[in-house]
Symmetry: C2
Subunit: 219 residues, 2 copies
């Protein structure tokens, strides 16, 4: 289905959307390969055979362009985490799966995850999270989702109830974010850096989620 480009759109508009998409495509490619530093407007323009100024007919600024890449990336994370939530099985297993999937999806595109949290600009996006009802799954709201996941665990008596769901979720998210960040930033993180450990990424993620969920359990 190609709804967006077939209803209520003239040929000109469809053409425009195609060029716009080609810019994003080229940006995505460069971004994934070399990160945000390798991405320059002039290089992008070269790659799609337009002048640098042309890009500004489609995006207000480089930041706006990159923000759109990040938005799509976060939507991807949320989708994956959400499907982990909808799986069957005991609560603790679903919870563990969600934590893992967050980190794994984040690490599918390390450059994206890095960029999303290294720019100060990118964090303004989080302002939107405030006015979000976290009872329904929302595009940008991976955190609100985590909160309700935690709340469910508390109701079931499987997670500690001496702190609020939000507080618990913040701690968990911090830990997930830290692991994802270190793996993304330090080449060969769990296995050989900063110390030769022989610990595979898989084993590390397992241990990490295990520690977190144990610490989040009652008593």
């Amino acid at each position: 289905m190609d709804d967006a480009s077939s209803h209520d759109t003239s040929p000109a508009e469809r053409r425009r959307l195609r060029v716009r998409a080609s810019i994003l495509d080229a940006a995505e490619k460069v971004f994934a390969a070399e990160g945000s530093e390798g991405l320059s407007i002039r290089r992008l323009a070269d790659e799609i055979d337009y002048s640098p100024a042309a890009i500004y007919k489609y995006f207000g600024s480089k930041e706006e362009l990159v923000d759109e890449l990040k938005e799509a990336f976060f939507a991807e994370i949320l989708t994956h985490v959400d499907s982990a939530r909808l799986s069957t099985g005991p609560y603790m297993e679903r919870a563990k799966s969600c934590l893992r999937v967050y980190m794994e999806t984040a690490l599918n595109k390390p450059q994206h995850y890095m960029a999303a949290f290294s720019d100060v600009q990118g964090m303004v996006e989080i302002d939107e999270w405030e006015e979000v009802d976290h009872s329904q799954s929302n595009k940008h709201n991976a955190f609100a989702f985590l909160v309700s996941m935690v709340a469910e665990g508390q109701e079931r008596g499987e997670l500690r109830q001496d702190v609020s769901d939000v507080a618990l979720a913040m701690s968990l998210w911090s830990a997930l974010h830290g692991a994802a960040t270190l793996i993304a930033h330090i080449p060969g993180f769990p296995e050989t850096k900063p110390i030769e450990s022989g610990l595979s990424r898989d084993a590390f993620l397992d241990l990490h989620t295990d520690i977190l969920l144990r610490g989040a359990q009652p008593q």
Copy 2:
């Protein structure tokens, strides 16, 4: 004591060290206030009344200059964490204190901590950590220190022994790093963002360390 500038140094050399220090001082000021993005060679040159080219007589590149700031910063972190280790009291309290102090010290200069982990360049530094004997405290080696702290806990039977000390330390460091990173990046992190929580930074750090150490305990 001003050893470095009084023995084996000519007046010229002392003068040189003074200029060099003034560059670092100016850089430190700008860096702390506005982060690495606000720091430009020309601006630095303006502030110390030299030409931009002059700075290259003292530092090979901007990166080299910033690396020196980071190095001092990490030394500061290690110093503080080390003094927490040397405090008296039960092991678990000392351990908790170390975790807290790491995050608190990191957050004394959020811009530094951000910069240290946002540049890919900065991570090359970690190569040095490999050839470090983690039984003795080393300038740059906050991680190796954490490993021995964990090892002590395992020997005392206060931390789980089903995984290696290095693995456990990695997980803990990840979690600390994540919390520090989020607080540094998201203005008003635990209190109001991404959700109004009323959770003070202090309470959050307490909860975070509590969760981690519970998850790291045996059984």
